[in-house]
Amino acid sequence: MDPIFALDDTQALLQSSLQRWLQDNAPFERRAALLTTPGAVQPLWTGLAQQLGLLGAALPEAVGGQGGSLADHLVILQALGQSLLPEPYSACLVTGAGLLQRLPSAATQALLAGVADGAVRPVLAALEPGARHDLAQVATTLHADGTLSGRKALVRAAPQATHWLVSARDAAGTLRLAQVRPGAPGVTQRDVRLADGSWAAELAFDRTPTEPLPDVGDVLPLLQQVADEALLATGAEAVGVMQCLLRDTLDYVRQRKQFGVAIASFQVTQHRLADMHMALLQARALVAATLAAMDQPAAERGRAVATCQVQVARSARTVGQSAVQLHGGMGMTEELAIGHGFQRLTLIEHHQGGLAVHLQRVVRWQAMQSAPV
């Protein structure tokens, strides 16, 4: 499968060894077993951490990582996307560890070392019921005594986490992050399976004790930055999923016969394939171009990522729906990877708000550009 951007030797090795490992250890036939309970994913995690040693790929060398960057996350998530197993990597490494890296302290360094060796899985709990996709609309309260009260909505990978990083407002109204251990006093947890087979949890806190994280003031800019990075990483994952769906669909239309001929011989089929291909190419190119824009100031970065997600959402819908349509009834079943890929693409399409939300971010950016200085 074509990489998203030209890989250096280390990245090429990383991706090919991960793809091989996933083919051997997590083929589609075994995927359901890895998702039966939140804990069933452990063999995947152990493999990523110990057999492949790639959980530290993008972490600093000081904590036992390999000193990589967001680009490595994209390389890894493209491959995990091809196996439809992005979680808990995406939630724990891109978002969780991404946050911890920007909250430097002895304690967070120790946590990151744990992330690299697979023992620690940090997960951000930020969005709340009724807040939709707004990281700033937070009613959860961080009390003066360090305890936490409030509610978080459908936190991805929360059931698999060892540490929750919970956003909350202090008495002054400043948005902060506090660290909570699953099972701590006052926690109510409801594990929820998502439409793509992965796991999330509804969480409620009632005077739950927290462990402090370094004080960086208002954490909203940090949350937005990490959310942008996670969104781009999801775009890379989407490319992996779409590549698989297109490959499987090409195989299927060549062998499926109706009216005495392969359905690949019909122009309506061919045009749909061409549209899938073009959707995939545009998403792939824009994910690569957006990676190069990630070091720009927040407004420019946000515009680039929002633009990328608009295209990814659009491409995900085109490729996902077309793959199901061209597979006919077989695309509707849980027996083929197609249906699962479509489920995953559908969640990606609406990730962090989907097309409508991200398009409005671009609208706001344009308004800013044309506003008189």
């Binding site: 122009q267 190419l281 545009q282 720009q296 608009v310 398009l359």
Partner: protein
């Protein structure tokens, strides 16, 4: 979207400096008023000659024939700056259509004969491919060329011949054999437009513009040296152009159009309330268009960078044509919406403002470009044919 390197910034400034001195107000006006696909030849040729004088008229050609050897980013910067400055839209028949096949299939004498005159702007080319009965099914073409001593004698007709009224040269697909498959009896000829027996009939488009023509050949005698490649090899040569990306990109012009449309929208809604529903819908439409332009831009840059390092993607030209033309058409729809009531008026662009009761010229441009751009999904291989070609590649390759 990415920031420019210091070297790229210096190059951009060099281009801007050149544009500031060489792209005259008259040329910019002609570019702005181009509602068709390409600027009329009388208006575009002074600009082409200025580019030639600077050594920038054929940037994608091999360096030994006058190409610039630019990086993908430099090509992008150059095209973007030209488009943003409303430089005339140059017709591609010479530089980007016939020249690449002359380079690939021409004899040394043919290269020497045709290429320098394309580069310096002396020659203006038109393309004789389609016929009244041969559009998407181009291989069924009937225009005959019969060998007679040192000449070919041509009888038949070509249609949709862009800018034939200004061209002094034509490259033609002609039938030289009727045996075997239709594709096997086609030859590729290059010859002069002023030969006896050639007549040009104008075709006025639905926007009122004259870009297209029908060309008739009545016992036209062209020298045998007009033949490019071998006799009956014409289909292979024509296909070469389809599978080799020649560096043409859509997004620089699309981005310039988008900027123009943003300015149009600002002016159009200046006296409307901020919460005007149409205004908000237009703002969303413009943001959406920008996202699409960004996506295609990323793809075009990727393809161009790969081509420069020697990696050709087999259906990249087809993908580029499809996405570029569909996006172009989409922008024109949006432009008509932004233009509002005045889009309904039809006047020559130069007359819009020349009255005590002036009409907004951009509104006229919007409708003209909308009407003209319906051709974008038809010309150069319909978008249906492009989808067929892409799918055939996908089904064969995997």
């Amino acid at each position: 979207m990415t920031t420019l390197t210091p070297a790229d910034t210096a190059f951009r400034d060099e281009v801007r400096q050149f544009l500031a001195t060489s792209l005259t107000p008259a040329m910019r006006l002609a570019g702005r008023r181009t509602a068709g696909i390409f600027t009329d030849a009388p208006d575009s040729r002074p600009w082409f000659r200025a580019l030639a004088a600077r050594g920038w008229s054929v940037p994608h050609w091999p360096v030994e024939w006058g190409g610039t050897g630019w990086t993908a980013r430099q090509h992008d910067i150059f095209a973007s700056e030209c488009a943003a400055a409303h430089a005339p839209a140059l017709a591609p028949q010479g530089v980007r259509m016939v020249a690449p096949v002359v380079l690939a299939y021409g004899t040394p004498e043919q290269k020497q004969r045709w290429l320098p005159a394309i580069r310096n702007g002396d020659d203006y080319w038109c393309q004789g491919y389609s016929e009244p009965g041969s559009g998407s099914d181009l291989a069924s073409l009937q225009c005959r060329a019969v060998r007679d001593g040192d000449h070919y004698v041509i009888n038949g007709t070509k249609i949709w011949t862009t800018h034939a009224q200004w061209a002094n040269r034509i490259f033609c697909l002609v039938r030289t054999s009727t045996t075997g498959k239709p594709q096997q009896g086609i030859s590729f000829l290059l010859f002069d437009m002023d030969l006896p027996g050639i007549t040009v009939r104008p075709i006025i488009s639905i926007s009122g513009d004259h870009e297209l023509n029908q060309v008739f050949f009545d016992d036209v005698r062209v020298p045998a040296s007009a033949l490019l490649g071998q006799e009956n090899q014409g289909w292979t040569i024509a296909k070469y152009l389809l599978v080799h990306e020649r560096g043409g990109t859509y997004t620089p012009a699309l981005r310039a159009r988008l900027l123009r449309m943003q300015a149009m929208a600002t002016a159009a809604f200046a006296s409307r309330p901020a919460d005007d529903a149409e205004r908000q819908a237009v703002a969303t439409g413009l943001a959406d268009a920008q996202c699409r332009v960004d996506a295609l831009h990323a793809l075009e840059q990727q393809v161009l960078a790969d081509r420069i390092r020697g990696v050709d993607h087999p259906v990249a030209p087809n993908v580029g044509k499809l996405l570029g033309t569909e996006l172009r058409q989409h922008l024109t729809e949006l432009a008509v919406t932004i233009a509002g009531p005045y889009a309904a008026a039809r006047l020559p662009a130069g007359e819009a403002g020349a009255h005590a009761l002036a009409l907004p010229e951009d509104a006229l441009w919007a409708m003209g470009t909308y009407l003209n751009d319906r051709a974008a999904s038809i010309y150069a291989g319909t978008n249906e044919v492009q989808r067929n070609l892409i799918a055939q590649h996908l089904l064969a390759a995997h």
